[in-house]
C-alpha cells in the first residue's frame, strides 16, 4: 500500500488518436449542419441585393408594385393580381384539402381495421407524398382543365395544389392523432361516449394543434409551387382574379414569367416578387411554429 500518487497508472492507455478522431468527426458534422444555413443565407443575400438594385436603379416603386397588376410594359407592371391569386389559391386549396385530408387521417387512425385495404391506402399515401408536383399539374390539366372543360381557372390550380398537399396533411394529422394517449380515448368510451363523440370532443381538440401545424406547413409548400400551375395554364395572365372561376397567375408563375423576360427591369421585378413570396412562406412557417408552441404543453 502506497499513499504516493502513481504517475504511471494510466500510461498504458493511449487515447490521443481516439480523441483526435472525435474532434475531427465533430468538425465534419458541424460543417454539414451549417451547409444548409449558409446556402439559405447566400440565396437570401443574392435576392436582397437584387431587391435593393431593383428599388434603386430601376426605380421600382413598392406602392405601384402592390397596387398594379402585371403588364406587358415593364414600367406599369405590378404584383397585385398575383398576390390576390395566391391568397385565393391558398384559401380554396385549404378548403379542398383540409377536410378530405383530416377525414382520411381520422378514418385511418381511429376506424380502419388492420387489413390489406388499409395497408394499401397507407402505402399509396406514402407514394403520393413523393410524386413530383408537375404530375399533379398534369392530372389537373387532363382531368379538370380539359377533361370536364373547366378551363385554366383558379379552381383548377387549387385542385392541383390541394392534391399536392393532401398527403402532407394526412400524414401530419395521423401523427397528431397518434400522439393522443389511448387512456384518454378509453376514458371517453367508459363514460358512455360513442366513437364519434370521442373523436369530436376529446381526440380532435387534443390533436388540432398538430393538425393545424401540418396544414400550414403543407400550404406553405403549396404557395411556392410553380410547375403544377404552369401545367394548368396559369401563365401570361396579368389581371387580378375576382373569384375561383377566373383565369389567374399566382406569385410563383408571375415570377417565373418575369424572370424569363430579356429585360433587366423585368428580372428585378422578379427579385422583388421573390422577396414578397418568401415573406409569405416565412410568415406561414412562423404561424405554424407559433401554433405548435402555444398548444404543445396542453396534452
Amino acid at each position: 500500500m502506497s499513499t504516493e500518487t502513481d504517475d504511471t497508472l494510466f500510461t498504458d492507455v493511449d487515447l490521443v488518436w481516439e480523441h483526435r478522431k472525435n474532434r475531427i468527426f465533430l468538425a465534419i458534422i458541424f460543417a454539414a449542419s451549417l451547409f444548409g444555413v449558409v446556402a439559405l443565407a447566400l440565396l437570401l443575400l443574392d435576392v436582397a441585393s437584387d431587391f435593393y438594385v431593383g428599388l434603386t436603379e430601376y426605380n421600382i416603386s413598392l406602392v405601384d408594385f402592390f397596387t398594379r397588376d402585371g403588364s406587358r410594359r415593364e414600367e406599369l407592371s405590378g404584383f397585385r393580381g398575383a398576390i390576390v391569386a395566391s391568397i385565393m389559391l391558398m384559401i380554396v386549396t385549404a378548403i379542398l384539402s383540409f377536410f378530405v385530408g383530416v377525414g382520411s387521417a381520422i378514418y385511418l387512425e381511429e376506424y380502419a381495421p388492420d387489413n390489406h385495404i388499409t395497408r394499401l391506402i397507407e402505402a399509396n399515401l406514402a407514394n403520393l407524398a413523393g410524386v413530383p408536383s408537375i404530375v399533379y399539374g398534369l392530372l389537373a390539366l387532363a382531368a379538370f382543365v380539359n377533361g370536364i372543360g373547366m378551363g385554366p381557372i383558379l379552381l383548377a390550380g387549387a385542385i392541383a395544389l390541394g392534391l399536392l398537399v393532401m398527403p402532407i396533411i394526412i400524414v401530419s394529422s395521423q401523427e397528431a392523432l397518434r400522439a393522443v394517449p389511448d387512456g384518454v380515448r378509453n376514458g371517453s368510451y367508459a363514460t358512455g361516449a360513442t366513437e364519434w363523440q370521442t373523436i369530436r370532443r376529446v381526440v380532435l381538440p387534443a390533436a388540432m394543434p398538430g393538425i393545424m401545424t401540418g396544414t400550414i406547413l403543407g400550404l406553405a409548400r403549396a404557395i411556392g409551387e410553380t410547375a403544377p400551375l404552369i401545367m394548368v395554364g396559369a401563365l401570361f395572365v396579368n389581371r387580378m382574379p375576382y373569384g375561383p372561376l377566373d383565369r389567374f397567375s399566382a406569385m410563383p408563375t408571375q415570377i417565373y414569367n418575369w424572370a424569363a423576360e430579356p429585360s433587366q427591369h423585368f428580372i428585378h421585378l422578379a427579385a422583388v416578387g421573390i422577396v414578397v413570396l418568401l415573406a409569405f412562406v416565412f410568415a406561414m412557417n412562423a404561424a405554424a411554429i407559433y401554433v405548435r408552441n402555444k398548444y404543445e404543453t396542453e396534452v
Binding site: 388492420d114 387512456g183 384518454v184 371517453s188 368510451y189 363514460t191 358512455g192 370532443r201 381538440p205 396542453e298
Partner: protein, 284 residues
C-alpha cells in the same frame, strides 16, 4: 376444474355455502340484495391465450367487491368484460354469460355505449381529458345528452363533492384537469365517472400509480361511494382489499376464480389452500 362445484363436491363444501350467501347477499344495512353483476361459465381468450376460465360470480349491489390475485390472473380482464371495454381489443373472444341485472351484456341487442352509461369506470393511470376541470366532470352528462335536462353546475359540484375534490378545486374549475396532481387527477376521474350517476363503478387498480397519501384519500372515498354505487375494484394490494372491501374474489393463475366470499372470511379463514398461500405470501 377447481372452480367447478360439481366436479369436486367433497372438498368444496365451504364454497357451496358461500354460493348460497351470494345468491341472497345482504347489503350493509342487513337488507337482502339482488346480485347486480353475475357471470356464468365466463371464458375469455386473447387469441389462443386463455385469460379467464369458467368464471362464476354474483356481485352484490351497493357493496365494495374487491378482486385480487397475482399479475396475469385475469382480474383486469374480468373488470373490462363488465362494461365491454374488451370490445376494443380485436383478438378478444368471450364465451359464457356476463349479466347486468339479469341481462346478458353480450346479447346481440345490447349496445355497449348504453351499457357504459350505467357502468362507470376508473382506470389505473389517471386519464383526465385535456380540458378544464369543469368540462371533464360535465363530459359524461354532455355526451349522454343530459346536459340540457339537469343543472350542470350543480351536477358538477355534486360529483366533485362526491369525489372529495370540491374543496380543493372549487376556485379553479376553468383550469386544465392536467394541472392537478396525480391524486387529484384520479379523484377528478372518479368525479367524471360518477357525474352521470351510473349504478356500478369499476375501478382498475385506481391507486397503484399514486403515492400513499393520495391512495389513502381514494380508499376513504371508495368506502363512501358504496352507499350509492356498486363498486368493483381490482387491486394487487391485499391490504387495500382487506381495508376497503366487503367481499373479495381471489383469481389465481390461468384466469380461475378460486374463492369468493366475505372479505374477513377470505383473509382470516379461506377455504382454499391456494388462497391461504397467496394471502400469506407463499405464492404469487
Amino acid at each position: 376444474m377447481a372452480t367447478d362445484h360439481e366436479s369436486e363436491p367433497t372438498t368444496n363444501d365451504a364454497q357451496l355455502i358461500t354460493t348460497d350467501v351470494q345468491a341472497t347477499g345482504t347489503g350493509r344495512n342487513g337488507e337482502p340484495t339482488e346480485p347486480v353483476v353475475t357471470a356464468r361459465d365466463l371464458d375469455v381468450h386473447y387469441g389462443a391465450e386463455q385469460a379467464l376460465n369458467d368464471v362464476d360470480i354474483d356481485i352484490p349491489e351497493h357493496r365494495v367487491t374487491a378482486i385480487i390475485g397475482p399479475s396475469g390472473c385475469g382480474k383486469s380482464t374480468f373488470l373490462r368484460c363488465v362494461n365491454r371495454m374488451n370490445d376494443q381489443i380485436d383478438s378478444c373472444r368471450i364465451d359464457g354469460e356476463l349479466s347486468f341485472h339479469g341481462k346478458n351484456v353480450y346479447d346481440e341487442d345490447v349496445d355497449p355505449v348504453a351499457l357504459r352509461r350505467k357502468i362507470g369506470m376508473v382506470f389505473q393511470k389517471p386519464n383526465p381529458f385535456p380540458k378544464s376541470i369543469y368540462d371533464n366532470v360535465a363530459y359524461g352528462l354532455r355526451v349522454q345528452g343530459m346536459a340540457g335536462d339537469v343543472d350542470l353546475d350543480a351536477a358538477v359540484e355534486r360529483a366533485l363533492r362526491g369525489a372529495a375534490l370540491w374543496d380543493e378545486v372549487n376556485d379553479q374549475l376553468d383550469s386544465s384537469g392536467l394541472d392537478l396532481s396525480g391524486g387529484q387527477q384520479q379523484r377528478l376521474c372518479i368525479a367524471r365517472a360518477i357525474a352521470p350517476d351510473p349504478e356500478v363503478i369499476l375501478m382498475d387498480e385506481p391507486t397503484s400509480a399514486l403515492d400513499p397519501v393520495a391512495a389513502s384519500k381514494i380508499e376513504d372515498l371508495i368506502d363512501d361511494l358504496a352507499d350509492e354505487y356498486t363498486v368493483i375494484i381490482v387491486t394487487h394490494n391485499m391490504q387495500q382489499a382487506a381495508r376497503i372491501s366487503d367481499k373479495t374474489a381471489v383469481f389465481l393463475t390461468g384466469g380461475n376464480l378460486v374463492e369468493f366470499d366475505e372479505t374477513p372470511t377470505i383473509f382470516e379463514n379461506p377455504a382454499d389452500d391456494r388462497v391461504e398461500d397467496y394471502i400469506t405470501g407463499k405464492f404469487g
